[in-house]
Symmetry: C2
Subunit: 378 residues, 2 copies
């Protein structure tokens, strides 16, 4: 199997935007292709969740390929809820590694801010199993993760403040990120006393509705940050089937497979981007990915070990909570932040970062992808 | 690279159904898994176009995986308009061939009949580039293919009757197919004098709105009909950018790549399933795939050379026109008919069929996949 590297990046500013999903994708893809500086792409992979139901637009693979004049090459869209970007990146990586393609453009995008709350909430709930009673009975994503948060606090002795520490850390990182949706400084008191969303989660504990796009070019060879391995796993999309609300098997197994394939473990990782769709989710993810024991992740927050100077800085981009969460773009944006860290040119650069991890979650644990990347020449 | 075979099949009846997209998928997938008789699947790939906008349901990969108790294996949905099934099959094939997975479940489905015509037409139009003026100005899929038909008749001397011959042939085949949506015999006069849809296309020249699902299990090895090669190509989704309306580059290049990879040509093919979303599309496809010269496909219809006893029987399942066209399921259903032909157990069995071709089109030429398959042991 060949080495595979990331050789180009493009990303739009995240937030409320006036342009269409097509325009955002083209902006990000064009930048990635220019940076990659290659004469041709062999395929185009797009990660997107809700372009059909929200933006009235499917066939994003063909649209991007055609608009950029890339010729009659293969193109496709991949969907796996909020993990759509990570899934597209994984497929592209696997097929380049296998020698099916040499150079592939992978992008993700979502257009979400142009709709009223009911429309967007309904579209997001397409990421639940709607043949079940759960969605019909009013369960939403903030509802699901609010229950998890209460259970976590009850089970492990964490306090509401520990959730706020996640939101605070990620906002502090976002302040330095020019593409982030929220860059205004906040205080712990603001977070704790913010508008409640679902007990115990307040406004700052929940990722926002965002527009945005991100793209990378990957290529066989060692000409950039190397993709060491990919892990992917599925989990139940039904809350009623979850044995233990505080365990996310998709996150755990996607991490396990990625570690095993690379011959690495959590102790080897210098920098992490993970799927903090809610403050609670970040704490569960740092446990499932093996950085901390089950039930101890909140103590890591207290001690600052997921910040600069700590054991492993997490979500130095600002994370989904403050950078924003244009669903299909998120998995690719995480890869870009890790690539920047390993290239030594990131916002909130971590000193001497050599190995990075990106984790992208879909649904209430329905999908997860984990990718491990290594600094060029390291 | 390893050999890859189709070792299990499952398909629902196509047409107007009362069950959900989830229930249809589970029915088809369960049958495919039972036939494959393997202890585990390594991944699940789903082809689907409009489940978000029509069925209010995404995350079909995770839902199927979970419902069938397949464990925490990778799963994903692929979208490429009406080629979604062919795209999912291609990705699965490429990754099994590459050794990433050993045994993969690939399925496709669509739920379309539960909605009014305006809702379905709008959803289908998500397969155009809606940032352009075309869709806004009223172009629909029957409109696009109607223009092509008039152009073809004008350019090459074909008559309206030649389109009707496609519809007639495929209906005659569908009569014997227990899963087909339309099995009532019709006469040429019925087809020619049917309710007009878009001049010159009448009701029988257009594929219907359908529900249905289809699934296959593929595996490394030579334990079934072998997948010889896969070709995929993109084309412009914009009518205004098409140089020659009667040329479909996506179809042409997907065929070219599949032929080249297998070291075969159209002269080697014994049986074909191709994307007759409209009667016109079948004639263009048999030309683009090299069975007949450009502008001569209609003469083949006149002489019956795409029927039993002719050069190469086309759409022996009844095709999209009469078997039905539940969008995401179509690409997989085509594979199943070709597999059945090569196993010698098809409806409308072709004597001594050894090599088969399946072609799946998306949009107005935005995507095409071609797969070549070979009889076990041939």
């Amino acid at each position: 199997m060949s080495r595979v590297s990331v050789i180009g990046r493009g990303i739009t500013k995240f937030g409320k935007r006036e342009d269409s999903i097509k325009e955002m994708l083209i902006e990000a893809c064009r930048d990635a292709i220019i940076e990659a500086n290659r004469p041709r792409m062999d395929a185009v992979f797009i990660g997107n969740f809700a372009s059909g139901s929200l933006a009235n637009q499917e066939i994003l693979g063909s649209i991007v390929t055609n608009e950029l004049g890339l010729g009659n090459i293969p193109s496709i869209k991949m969907e796996g809820a909020c993990a759509s970007g990570g899934l597209a990146f994984r497929q592209a990586y696997q097929l380049v590694k296998a020698g099916e393609y040499d150079t592939v453009l992978v992008a993700g995008a979502e257009k979400m801010t142009a709709f009223d709350t009911e429309t967007v909430t309904k579209a997001i709930n397409h990421a639940m199993d709607n043949a079940s009673s759960e969605s019909a009975s009013g369960l939403t994503f903030p509802g699901f993760f609010g229950v998890l948060a209460n259970r976590y606090i009850h089970e492990y002795g964490a306090e509401r403040e520990h959730l706020a520490m996640v939101a605070m850390k990620n906002r502090e990182y976002a302040i330095n990120n020019p593409i982030a949706q929220f860059t205004k400084p906040v205080e712990m008191e603001d977070i704790i006393h913010a508008k409640p969303i679902t007990d115990p989660l307040g406004l700052f504990d929940c990722s926002p509705i965002s527009d945005g796009a991100a793209a990378v070019v990957i290529q066989r060879g060692a000409n950039g940050v190397e993709i060491l391995s990919s892990g992917q796993a599925s989990g139940t999309p039904l809350m009623q089937e979850v044995d233990n609300l505080l365990h996310m098997p998709a996150t755990y197994y996607s991490g396990k497979h990625a570690y095993e394939r690379a011959g690495l473990g959590p102790e080897d990782i210098d920098v992490v981007e993970l799927h903090d769709c809610f403050s609670m989710t970040e704490i569960i993810a740092i446990e499932e990915l093996g950085f901390f024991e089950k039930g101890k992740g909140w103590k890591a927050l207290e001690k600052g070990v997921t910040k600069h100077g700590g054991l492993v800085p997490v979500n130095t981009s600002g994370g989904l909570l403050s950078k924003g969460h244009p669903i299909g773009a998120t998995g690719i944006a995480q890869i870009i932040q890790v690539v920047d860290q390993l290239n030594g040119c990131a916002v909130n650069q971590v000193d001497n970062a050599e190995i990075g991890l990106a984790q992208n979650l879909g649904g209430t644990g329905a999908y997860s992808t984990v990718h491990l990347l290594r600094k060029k020449g390291a």
